[in-house]
Amino acid sequence: MSGAVRGRALGWVAFAALLVGSAVALFVVPADAAQGEVQRILYIHVPSAWVAMLSFFVVFLMSALYLVQRRLRWDLIAASAVEIGVLFTGLTLALGMLWGKPTWGVWWIWDPRLTTTAILFVIYVGYLLVRSVSEDPDQRARWSAVIGIVAFVQVPVVYLSVFWWRSIHQPPSSPRSMASEFFLVLMLNFAAFTLFYVYLMMRRYRLAKMELELELQEPSRE
């Protein structure tokens, strides 16, 4: 019972942090001089990307842990993390496009970071698809863990290759230096998103556990 209460408390804290973070980003901090209001997307775009990366790292860790210990709990955490990671990767891409259209004039450019993020998205969607078509929980866990590990190994190679591919044509967008107040707001949103991530993970894991229990009870199974 205390676990559920703590979970709910975390949810409220995360919600409040997101609210404060968004309010500060929208109303308190001044807009960027060159880019105008649209720059405020940064305060949720970058934390989204951070949560996505964090998620995929969790997938890697949990996949490895599953293969060592063979406990379904790790698989369920990994699967929850992939789902949230894919969600936030998609969010990162969408937010980036919203920012890119007014700033660059186009929705999409073949910048190494953009391209790598898109590839990351399809790699982990593949993970989810494989999960959706495998029936046996142990087999599914094993296959998922293998994909979770191999996918993680692919990421740096993908980044390097795309970087080379693009850097021949144009320099990649460099991280802009930021004023300290901008940076503080960004950090605030980082914290809020991370809290929200932990909360989402807890909820999704709980759901995954229930799904598994239900699956094991189904009469169609032997």
């Binding site: 293969l67 078509v133 495998s134 191999v150 190679v157 795309v162």
Partner: protein, 226 residues
């Protein structure tokens, strides 16, 4: 170690012998690959300069499509007759199954490419002979990487529902670095390497091959567990 190689060789030889006697895969693959090249030429139009410029990309997309179509067969044919189950039961290193299948897929793919490159040379009006060795080297490196990743995922998806669809979904994203490196190296050789980029792409190709090979070989026994 020698045991591993003996087993690998046995599986490779078995697969090649089946192929040699039936030739069912090779004929279809060559035809399929040629067809893909033809389709691309129609889609892009008859401009020879444009086709020559895109030749590297067209060739490798044709190779990747052909390879992916044939990959599924590699483990499915075993599964049908219960061969995979038997292989699992044999004592000794299961990595030999991976290595044997990988090499069989590689040999098959290289055989297809030996036909495909000259055909592309004719279709796209490219003289490939001056760069024959270089192109062969790229073909071997690219095909090795493809066969590594492809064989690995083919083994992973063999028991899945909708595996014909799942295999490309997993393989294609994993192949992007390989595709970039192989296409750019091939294009560089065909069009002339003015900027000296080919060696960089070759290094990437080798790095990709080594990294994916090590990871796939290392983790493969888990894929094959019952």
């Amino acid at each position: 170690m020698s045991d591993l190689w003996r087993r690998t060789w046995a599986i490779l030889w078995k697969d090649l012998l089946i192929e040699l006697r039936t030739k069912q895969a090779l004929n279809a693959m060559v035809f399929f690959a040629g067809l893909v090249l033809l389709l691309f030429s129609f889609a892009i139009g008859p401009n020879p300069d444009l086709l020559r410029e895109l030749a590297g990309g067209l060739l490798w997309v044709a190779i990747v499509f052909t390879g992916t179509v044939s990959l599924g067969r590699s483990f499915q044919s075993e599964e049908l007759a219960g061969g995979l189950q038997l292989m699992r039961l044999y004592p000794g290193e299961r990595r030999a199954i991976f290595l044997g299948k990988l090499l069989a897929n590689l040999v098959l793919l290289l055989a297809v490419e030996a036909v495909l490159f000259p055909v592309a040379g004719v279709l796209f009006q490219i003289n490939m002979w001056p760069n024959a060795w270089g192109l062969a080297g790229i073909a071997v490196l690219g095909s090795f990487g493809f066969s590594t990743v492809g064989t690995f995922y083919a083994a992973l998806t063999v028991h899945l529902r909708a595996r014909e669809l799942m295999l490309p979904l997993l393989v294609f994203p994993a192949l992007i670095p390989l595709l970039l490196a192989a296409v750019n190296a091939t294009g560089g050789l065909i069009l002339g390497d003015a900027m000296g980029q080919v060696s960089g792409w070759l290094r990437l190709l080798v790095a990709y091959d080594v990294i994916l090979f090590v990871v796939c070989v290392w983790i493969f026994p888990i894929v094959l567990e019952e």
